[in-house]
C-alpha cells in the first residue's frame, strides 16, 4: 500500500501527473523566498506523478506554514510546532498517501523541536521542507533558533545570546535518513532535491534557505548566494561521518546538495510487520473473540 520504495510510481488507478499542484494566490510579501519553494515543490510533484488528491501538505503556523493554502492538494494548516504530529498520525493511519510537511525554522525547531527530534529518529516516511529564513517572519521579526549569535532582532535588540541550531545537523544527528540543503535562488537544485526527498522511503529532510525580505535584512538572497557551497561532485551521501564532519565544520557556510541518505526500515514498515505477524497469529479476531478474555 505505501510507496515505500525509492522509485515509488503513482498508485494504481491514479490519473496522470498534473500540470500544476498550485492552489490559490500566495499572500507572502513580494520577494519572499517562499515563492521559490512553492514553485519547486509544484515541479517536483509533477515529476513525482501522483494525483493531487493523494498528496497531503501539512504545516504548522508561520509565513512558510501558509503553504497548504497555496496548493491544490489536501492540506492541513495545524498549530504552531505540531505539523509533524499530525503528519505522523496521518501517515501511520494512511500509509498509502504522500505526506509532505512544510514550515519555518521557528515552527520546526523552537516550539516544534520535540516532535522534530522524535519524528527524525522514528524514520517516518515523510518529506519535510523547512523554509529557513533565520527569523520569525509571521510575528514580525524575532530571534529564531537558527539566528546567529549576536544577531539583532526585535526580541534581541542587543544581540542574540544563543548558539544557533543548524537544521541539517539537527536532522542528521537526530536520525533522519535523508538530509539535503538547498536555496530558493537555485530552483533547479531545489526541485531535484525535493523530488529525491519525495522518492526517499523514510524521513526526508530538506532545508531550504528562503530569505525573509521584510524582517531579515541580513540573510537575503545575496547573502545565501555568497555563503552557499555546492557539495563536491564526488560527495558520498552514504558516508554518515563525512556528513557529520561537513556540517560540524561548516561555520557560516551552507553546504548545498544531498548531504546524507541511507535506507533503514521506516516506522510504518516496523508497525506493519507487527500487525501482519499478530494478525496471522490471531486469525479472524473481532471484538467478540477479543472480549472473551474477560469471561
Amino acid at each position: 500500500m505505501t510507496p515505500d520504495t525509492a522509485t515509488a510510481a503513482p498508485a494504481a488507478g491514479s490519473a496522470a501527473a498534473k500540470s500544476s499542484y498550485k492552489g490559490s494566490r500566495p499572500t507572502w510579501c513580494p520577494g519572499c523566498g517562499d515563492y521559490g519553494v512553492l514553485a519547486c515543490l509544484d515541479k517536483a510533484l509533477q515529476a513525482y506523478g501522483r494525483p493531487e488528491w493523494e498528496v497531503v501538505v501539512v504545516s504548522g503556523i508561520g509565513c512558510s506554514s501558509r503553504f497548504p493554502f497555496f496548493m491544490n492538494t489536501y492540506g492541513f494548516h495545524s498549530a504552531h510546532g505540531r505539523a509533524l504530529t499530525v503528519a505522523t498520525g496521518l501517515k501511520l493511519a494512511r500509509p498509502d498517501l504522500t505526506v509532505v510537511c512544510t514550515g519555518g525554522d521557528g515552527d520546526a525547531l523552537a516550539i516544534g523541536g520535540n516532535h522534530f527530534f522524535h519524528t527524525m529518529r522514528r524514520n517516518v516516511d515523510l518529506t519535510y521542507i523547512l523554509m529557513d529564513n533565520q527569523i520569525y517572519g509571521m510575528t514580525k521579526g524575532q530571534t529564531a533558533p537558527t539566528s546567529a549569535v549576536g544577531m539583532e532582532t526585535k526580541s534581541s535588540p542587543y544581540g542574540n545570546v544563543e548558539p544557533p541550531v543548524d537544521p541539517c545537523w539537527a536532522a542528521l544527528t537526530m536520525g533522519a535518513t535523508f538530509v539535503a540543503q538547498t536555496a530558493s535562488h537555485d530552483p533547479a537544485q531545489m526541485t531535484a532535491l525535493i523530488l529525491e526527498a519525495l522518492r526517499h522511503p523514510g524521513m526526508a529532510f530538506v532545508n531550504c534557505l528562503s530569505p525573509c525580505v521584510t524582517f531579515n535584512e541580513v540573510m537575503d538572497k545575496e547573502y545565501f548566494k555568497a555563503h552557499g557551497d555546492p557539495l563536491p561532485p564526488d560527495w558520498d551521501p552514504s558516508d554518515f561521518e563525512a556528513a557529520i564532519r561537513l556540517l560540524r565544520n561548516a561555520g557560516d557556510r551552507f553546504p548545498l546538495g544531498l548531504i546524507h541518505r541511507r535506507i533503514e526500515p521506516t516506522l510504518g514498515q516496523r508497525v506493519e510487520n507487527i500487525t501482519n505477524r499478530i494478525r496471522a497469529q490471531a486469525g479472524e479476531a473481532d471484538v467478540l473473540s477479543i472480549a472473551r478474555q474477560f469471561l
Binding site: 496548493m71 492541513f76 505522523t88 508497525v271 499478530i278 494478525r279 474477560f294 469471561l295
Partner: protein, 604 residues
C-alpha cells in the same frame, strides 16, 4: 429499586503481599460463577510501601456501588486488622494471620478466624510466597465457591509464568479452600448463590473504555503513559493489531492528540487517553480539532489535582476544564460514565457522537472507576451499533480531481450540521483546513460577517447535539416519579448516589433523581423538565471543592431555579476518596434537618 442480597469482602495487607492478585482471582471466580461483582482498590503512588486494599462486593443483582463496611475482612497483616477490623459489620468475619503478641481488637458479633497463611503456603509449596492464594482460598471456601472454577482461574492467571508457579499457586489455593470450607459454618448466614449462574465478563473501567473503543471502530490510538489512564493504552496496544489497528506511544500528550487529529483527518477513527496533566497539555490542539471539525475522542481519567496532585486518588475536578477550559470557544462534547458497564457504553457513544457531529469528544472517567472491576453482561457487546460515517464521494462530473464546483468542507446548513467529509485520496475533494477562522471552503477568512456565521455554525452544532442527546435520554433514562427532594450527580459518584437513594427509600424518604451522562452540551430540555416537577431541594453530589457541576446548573438554569424557588445544595468531598452511600445519605439527612424538613412532608 430495593436493596437485594450482596456481600462485601475486603482483602488488605502490605503492598508486597499480592493483595491485588488475590482479589482479582476471587473476583474473576465470582463472575464466572454468575455473581454480579463490583470491586474497589487502592494502591499508592510510590511503587513500594504502604497498605493495599482490594474490596470485592458480590451480589445477586446488578450492583451500583462498592458498598459500605465489609462483611468479611481477609487481613494479610496485623495493620490490616487494626485499620479495618473495627469496621467489619456485626455477623461478619475477620480472617487474620496468627497474632505476634496481643490480639487486635475486633468489633462485637464478629467472628475471628486465624489462618497461618505462610505455614500453609510453606507446607504446600515449600515457600511462604503463595500466602495470598491461601488467603484467597480461605475466603472462597468460606463462601462456598466452586473450587474447580477457582482453580481454573488461578491457572489462567499464572499461565505463561511456568508450570512451577501454577502448581504452587493451585496448591496454596487448595490448602486455603480446605481451611475455608472447614470454617464454613461461620459464614452460613452471609452466603448466597447467584440466581442466574451464567458467566459474566469482569473488567475494569479502563478495560471497558478500551473495549468500547475497539467495538466502536477506533482503529488508531496514540497515547502517553499516565496514572490512572495507562491501562487503556496498554490494552489497546495488545488488541488493536489483531484487528488491523495501530496503537502508538507518542513522545508526549501534545503529540498524542496531534497524531489522532492526523489519523482522523485521514478517515480513521481515533482516540487518546490521559489524566488531568495530560488533558491540560492537550487543550490547545483540542481547539484545533474543534475549529477544523475533526472527530476524535479524548479520555480523561480524572485524578486528584491540581497539578501533579495525587495521581492515585479519586476526584472529579476536571469538569470545568473539559466543558469550558479552552482559549476561545471550542465546540466539544463531554460525557461521563458512571459504572464500568457505562465506561463501555459511553465510550461507544463518544466515538459515535464524534463522527456523527464531527466534533471532539471528551470522556470523563475517574480513578476509582478506572481500576474498579465490575461485571458486564456479555450481551452488551452484541447490541452496540458503531456509527458508520459516510464520506464525500466525488461528483459524477468530476474531471480528474477538479469537480465543477469545488468541495465545500464547511458548507453552511441551517441546522449547523456538517457535510460528509472528503478523505484524502478522494478525487475532487481536495480542501485545506486548520485552526484559522475560515470560509465554507476552509480558506482563511476574517471578514466580520463570515466570522459571525462560523461562530453561529459552531453554536448551532452544539444545539443540534443537545437535542439529539435529549432524545437518547428520554428513552434510556426516563425520569422517576416527581418529588420535592431531588438528587443529581455525575460520573463515578452517580452510582454511589443512586445507592444512597435506595437506602433512603428503604427508610421511607423518597427522592427523584437525574444522573446525566451527557454533561456538555447540557440536555436542557430534560433538566428543565426535571427541575419543574415540584422540586424544592436539589442535592448535587460531586468530588471537588468548587461545586463545578452545581455551578454549571446554576449558571444555565438560573431563571428556572428562580421561578420555581429551588434551592441547590451541594454535597462535595475533596479528600481523594470516593463517596460511600452512607456518607451521602447522612449528609442529605443533615441538610434536611438543618432546614427542618420532616420525612412526612416527603410524600407530598
Amino acid at each position: 429499586m430495593s436493596a437485594s442480597k450482596s456481600l462485601t469482602v475486603r482483602f488488605e495487607g502490605d503492598s508486597g503481599d499480592g493483595i491485588i492478585t488475590m482479589g482479582k482471582v476471587a473476583a474473576r471466580t465470582a463472575a464466572r460463577l454468575g455473581y454480579h461483582v463490583y470491586t474497589y482498590s487502592t494502591f499508592l503512588a510510590v511503587v513500594r510501601g504502604g497498605q493495599v486494599t482490594f474490596q470485592m462486593r458480590i451480589g445477586a443483582e446488578p450492583l451500583v456501588s462498592q458498598g459500605n463496611e465489609p462483611d468479611i475482612l481477609v487481613a494479610l497483616n496485623r495493620q490490616a486488622v487494626k485499620d479495618v477490623g473495627p469496621l467489619v459489620k456485626p455477623g461478619g468475619i475477620v480472617i487474620h494471620p496468627p497474632w505476634d503478641g496481643q490480639p487486635e481488637a475486633i468489633g462485637a458479633g464478629v467472628t475471628a478466624l486465624e489462618v497461618n497463611y505462610k505455614e500453609l503456603s510453606l507446607g504446600e509449596t515449600g515457600s511462604p510466597r503463595s500466602k495470598n492464594m491461601v488467603a484467597a482460598g480461605v475466603a472462597m471456601g468460606l463462601l462456598g465457591f466452586d473450587e474447580a472454577t477457582a482453580a481454573a482461574v488461578v491457572e489462567e492467571h499464572f499461565s505463561g509464568k511456568g508450570e512451577d508457579v501454577i502448581t504452587a499457586n493451585r496448591g496454596a489455593l487448595a490448602a486455603g479452600f480446605d481451611a475455608g470450607q472447614a470454617a464454613a459454618n461461620a459464614a452460613a448466614a452471609l452466603r448466597f448463590t447467584p440466581p442466574e449462574p451464567h458467566p459474566r465478563m469482569l473488567l475494569s473501567g479502563n478495560e471497558a473504555v478500551a473495549l468500547g473503543a475497539l467495538a466502536a471502530g477506533v482503529r488508531f490510538f496514540a497515547g502517553y503513559p499516565i496514572t490512572p489512564a495507562s491501562e487503556i493504552m496498554e490494552w489497546l496496544a495488545a488488541e488493536l493489531p489483531k484487528v488491523g489497528g495501530i496503537m502508538f506511544q507518542a513522545e508526549d500528550e501534545i503529540a498524542s492528540v496531534g497524531m489522532c487529529i492526523g489519523a482522523s483527518f485521514g478517515g480513521v477513527k481515533s482516540m487518546t487517553a490521559t489524566s488531568g496533566p495530560g488533558l491540560s497539555l492537550m487543550i490547545e490542539l483540542l481547539g484545533l480539532a474543534g475549529m477544523a471539525e475533526i472527530p476524535m475522542v479524548v479520555v480523561d481519567v480524572q485524578r486528584a489535582g491540581p497539578s501533579t496532585g495525587m495521581p492515585t486518588k479519586e476526584a472529579q475536578g476536571d469538569l470545568h476544564q473539559a466543558a469550558q477550559g479552552t482559549h476561545g470557544e471550542v465546540p466539544r462534547v463531554v460525557l461521563a460514565p458512571q459504572t464500568v458497564a457505562d465506561c463501555f457504553e459511553q465510550t461507544v457513544r463518544a466515538v459515535n457522537t464524534a463522527h456523527e457531529f464531527q466534533i471532539p469528544v471528551i470522556l470523563l472517567s475517574s480513578q476509582s472507576l478506572s481500576h474498579r472491576m465490575q461485571t458486564i453482561e456479555p450481551d452488551e457487546l452484541r447490541t452496540i451499533q458503531p456509527f458508520e460515517e459516510k464520506f464525500y464521494q466525488p461528483p459524477a462530473d468530476g474531471r480528474g480531481g477538479q469537480p465543477a464546483e469545488p468541495y465545500k468542507r464547511y458548507a453552511w446548513r441551517n441546522d449547523g450540521m456538517p457535510v460528509e467529509r472528503a478523505i484524502p485520496g478522494t478525487p475532487g475533494g481536495m480542501y485545506r483546513t486548520g485552526g484559522l477562522e475560515h470560509d465554507e471552503y476552509g480558506n482563511p477568512d476574517f471578514d466580520p460577517e463570515v466570522r459571525s456565521k462560523m461562530v453561529l455554525r459552531r453554536r448551532l452544532r452544539m444545539h443540534a447535539i443537545a437535542r439529539h442527546f435529549e432524545e437518547d435520554i428520554a428513552t434510556e433514562q426516563p425520569l422517576p416519579p416527581p418529588a420535592p427532594l431531588g438528587l443529581m450527580s455525575w460520573g463515578a459518584s452517580a452510582s454511589v448516589a443512586l445507592e444512597a437513594l435506595q437506602q433512603m427509600e428503604a427508610k421511607g424518604i423518597k427522592m427523584t433523581y437525574f444522573m446525566p451522562r451527557i454533561l456538555w452540551p447540557m440536555p436542557d430540555v430534560i433538566i428543565e423538565r426535571f427541575l419543574t416537577r415540584g422540586l424544592k431541594y436539589l442535592f448535587v453530589c460531586e468530588l471537588n471543592a468548587t461545586r463545578q457541576f452545581a455551578e454549571m446548573l446554576r449558571a444555565r438554569y438560573t431563571a428556572t431555579l428562580v421561578k420555581h424557588d429551588i434551592e441547590v445544595i451541594s454535597i462535595i468531598k475533596d479528600d481523594g476518596l470516593p463517596f460511600t452511600p452512607g456518607e451521602i445519605e447522612q449528609r442529605i439527612l443533615n441538610a434536611l434537618a438543618a432546614r427542618n424538613w420532616t420525612p412526612e412532608e416527603v410524600t407530598v
